[in-house]
């Protein structure tokens, strides 16, 4: 018998909700039905920008089967937003009173005994609009003559963010070579398989319960309470299972708000499920960005300075967009050391659907520009892209001035692994190329614009008489497997088996507040809270073990696999189950309960820890048609200590598929403010035949701030792919792709331009 380091961590386990999901027992908000439930539908604006003169709902109210209609007049008219700390950024009235600002914005909602009746009744609502001039592109919206979208917001500039360190201008002086480029990064839709939806039930006790898919039950509790004028504690969010989130499900949406308003008016449960088209046109999207990038380097490839200006198409409202505006600026410098770095970011209102956070949170756009330009600079100067990245890359102990401290960093190993892999491929056939891109990502944001007095994450652990463990957490399992990760951390810390752990999450009545599943928070932040709570409970147990076993105080006790033992002499010990019973008796029957929380302090401006990675994309392009075939996507990845290997693999492969979509398939074209492809026939999502093999090498590092040395995994890998594909196209055909997605037509256009230039020479 020996004392093992880890018995659960990094072993292959089934997700704890796996059986429910493969048997169809997992119920989503989409599946919830309550007695006497009504069905709601939302009337949406056909205009990108219009004043709502009048709404006549009388005909609709009289329609047989209709139980009620609500408009902005039935609400408190509160302007809400997730940046609660800054009033001016809370700018969205769901069901607006005066103006609609994008096509698809809700203007009224109907509840009826069937969905069909509700939908028919929508046609009977008469809305008089005064159509206003509209603007759709940020570079247009900032012009003097552009229409004002939000009263008092000059030039439609919603938020600006500025980052600077070092003496940028002086650093540029030292540069031997300076390159400037403009890039255009497209939007992308989260396209969760489960469309947005909610079932709200307001009861005479004055309490509201809302079943909904969410990335943060606590956010929705707070936001709903705010707009409905209820106490947070009187709003209960239940998130049974959530059919994907990807950054699109933690702001308040119209399904949640309208079903709640209808339920409060009618005192019946109301269910609203978005159609796929509604989900496309009236949810949110990845932020489209225009980047100007100026980079100065020395002859030998040493980075001197970079300055970037960015305009993002913010759409009609702020939401999470303000965060993306800062993060894209920070990750645009990532993962390199700059003597001088300057970023000016401007988020501009337009009359299009709001843009917000999406997996990668601004970094995929930033990387697409940065990582391609680095390869072009290498080509211009005849330098080796691997060498240049090694030379300038982050290293352990590096401090990004005023922004971040890097406590663990496997970047160099990642670069070495990918370099070997690329070299092993040898010479490639014509029209085929491998492109690389390195990057990194945060492990949870440390900003608190939601302005909550609660800790960022909390956990409560209770040990039952039979040794089973109840873990209450506020983290949200949206498919990424956080419940399983927390169970692993709990089992490891307490020294019990997976089957001893029960995770309770996604119910604000029973679970402690937690900021939820976004920005790659949960493994590090909720993980730390769970670990702390388990250590607290474990300490209470071990006190009795010392007494019971009557051993020398200097001995170190631990529990592994339900065996309480002396670390140095594992054969000497007792059964965990027996210890629990004894401890309970000893404590006069008091439950053994551990509490834990996590709130980052003095961790810079961004995050407590950063993951690192490098990716190579092997792609082949048909030069006659411009069609792209992806052969393989190879990744070397540093996420500290892997906790759940199966879940980690799934997250990384999933990121690759979403990022490939962003790179060459997915686009959201608008005409006069109208999304032109709001369905899954015209919006192209990568499917199994297009999905390449995605081998992954894990680089082991230890992150001191993370639970058992773990940090971010899964979101960050959305960042490098678009750039890596761009570089693959550059290496295959010698053309520079400055616009996303990298479509066949754009490739042909670039090839034609290249021909023309060569003809001139």
């Amino acid at each position: 018998m020996s004392h093992k380091k880890y018995t659960v961590i990094n072993t292959p386990v089934h997700n704890i909700d796996g059986v429910a999901k493969v048997t169809g027992r997992a119920t989503y908000a989409f599946d919830v039905t309550l007695p006497g439930m009504l069905y709601g539908k939302i009337l949406r604006s056909p205009h990108p920008h219009a004043r709502v003169v009048s709404i006549d709902t009388s005909k609709a109210e009289q329609f047989p089967g209709v139980r009620g209609v609500v408009t902005g007049k039935d609400t408190l008219g509160i302007k809400q937003g997730i940046w609660r700390r800054y009033e001016e950024l809370c700018d969205e009235q769901i069901l607006p009173l005066e103006k609609v600002r994008y096509i698809g914005e809700p203007v009224a909602a109907v509840a009826a005994i069937t969905e069909e009746i509700a939908e028919k009744a929508l046609d009977l609502i008469e809305v008089e609009y005064e159509v206003l001039p509209a603007v759709y592109e940020p570079l247009e919206a900032i012009k003097k003559e552009a229409p004002t979208i939000h009263e008092g917001v000059e030039r439609n500039i919603n938020v600006t963010r500025h980052i600077e360190w070092g003496d940028v201008d002086d650093a540029f002086e030292d540069a031997d070579y300076i390159r400037e480029d403009w890039f255009k990064c497209s939007g992308q839709h989260h396209m969760c398989m489960e469309t947005r939806g909610a079932v709200s039930s307001f009861t005479p006790e004055g309490k509201l319960t809302c079943w909904t898919g969410t990335q943060s039950a606590y956010y929705h509790q707070g936001l709903l309470a705010g707009v409905l004028g209820l106490r947070e504690g009187d709003v209960r969010i239940i998130a049974p299972y959530t059919g994907g989130g990807f950054g699109g499900k933690f702001e308040l949406d119209a399904a949640q708000f309208c079903s709640a308003v209808l339920s409060m008016k009618l005192h019946k449960p109301v269910k609203i499920i978005f159609t796929r088209e509604e989900d496309f046109i009236a949810s949110k999207r990845r932020t489209p960005m225009f980047y100007y990038v100026r980079t100065g380097v020395k002859k030998d490839g040493t980075f001197c300075a970079r300055e970037s200006r960015m305009f993002s198409n913010g759409g009609a409202y702020t939401g999470m967009g303000a965060t993306a505006l800062y993060l894209t600026g920070f990750f645009h410098s990532f993962p390199y050391k700059w003597r001088g770095y300057r970023y000016d970011g401007y988020r501009v209102y337009t009359n299009t659907m709001p843009s917000t956070s999406m997996r990668g949170f601004g970094a995929p756009q930033a990387m697409f520009c940065s990582e391609q330009q680095i390869d072009w600079i290498c080509a211009d100067l005849g330098l080796d892209p691997f060498e240049v990245r090694r030379k300038n890359g982050h290293t352990e102990g590096y401090e990004v001035p005023g922004q971040a401290f890097i406590a663990s960093c496997g970047l160099e190993q990642c670069i070495n692994e990918i370099e070997n892999w690329v070299k092993s491929k040898g010479k490639l056939p014509a029209n085929r190329g491998i492109g690389i891109s390195s990057c990194g990502f945060m492990s949870g944001g440390i900003f608190n614009w939601f302005d909550t007095p609660y800790s960022f994450s909390s956990a409560v652990v209770t040990i039952n008489v039979d040794g089973t463990v109840e873990v209450h957490v506020g983290c949200q399992d949206i498919g990424q497997g956080s419940n399983t990760t927390m169970a692993i951390i709990a089992a490891e810390t307490l020294g019990v088996k997976m089957e001893d752990i029960k995770i309770h999450s996604g119910d604000t009545d029973h679970c402690p507040a937690d900021l939820g599943a976004w920005g790659s928070r949960q493994t590090l932040m909720t993980g730390n809270a769970v670990k702390m709570a388990c250590e607290d409970a474990k300490k209470q147990l071990l006190e009795f073990a010392y007494a019971e076993m009557g051993i020398n105080i200097v001995y170190d006790l631990d529990i592994k696999d339900r065996w309480v033992h002396i670390v140095a002499r594992p054969e000497r010990g007792m059964k965990y189950e027996d210890l629990v019973k004894k401890a309970l008796r000893g404590k006069d029957g008091q439950r053994i309960m551990g509490r834990g929380y996590y709130t980052p302090h003095r961790k810079g401006m961004i995050s407590p820890a950063y993951s690192y990675m490098m990716q190579a994309v092997d792609a082949e392009i048909d030069p006659e048609t411009g069609r792209i075939k992806i052969h393989e996507v190879m990744t070397a990845h540093d996420c500290g200590q892997p906790i759940n290997p199966l879940g980690l693999m799934g997250q990384l492969e999933g990121a690759a598929s979403m990022a490939l979509g962003y790179a060459y398939l997915e686009d959201m074209p608008f005409e006069d403010g109208k999304m032109m492809n709001p369905n899954l026939v015209d919006y192209k999502v990568i499917r199994a035949p297009e999905m390449p093999k995605t081998p992954i090498i894990e680089i082991d590092t230890y992150e001191p701030e993370g639970p058992y040395g773990a940090k971010e995994a899964g979101e960050g890998l959305t960042n490098p792919t678009a750039a890596a594909l761009g570089n693959a196209v550059f290496n295959a055909l010698g053309i520079q792709m400055k616009e996303l997605p990298i479509s066949p037509e754009r490739i042909r256009k670039a090839l034609a331009e290249k021909k023309a230039q060569e003809a001139q020479k």
Binding site: I142, R155, Y292, R342, D344
Partner: protein, 71 residues
Amino acid sequence: MSFKCPACKKEWPNSKQVARHMFGTGDKAHRAWIESQGYSYIELLLAQTTEPGNKSYEMLAELIEKAQDTL
């Protein structure tokens, strides 16, 4: 010596940092001071983004330096 923000009196080691602070904050008070000097906050921001270099910040830094003794 350190430089004060003419709007909120926050102090910084050099005037360019005060300029960045004023642009970054960009609330009514800070905009108002820039306007009071006869410039448009938005115009300066846009100038800063549409051409390379650092013109707007340098210009604002100068104004700030001039204003120091009046603070």
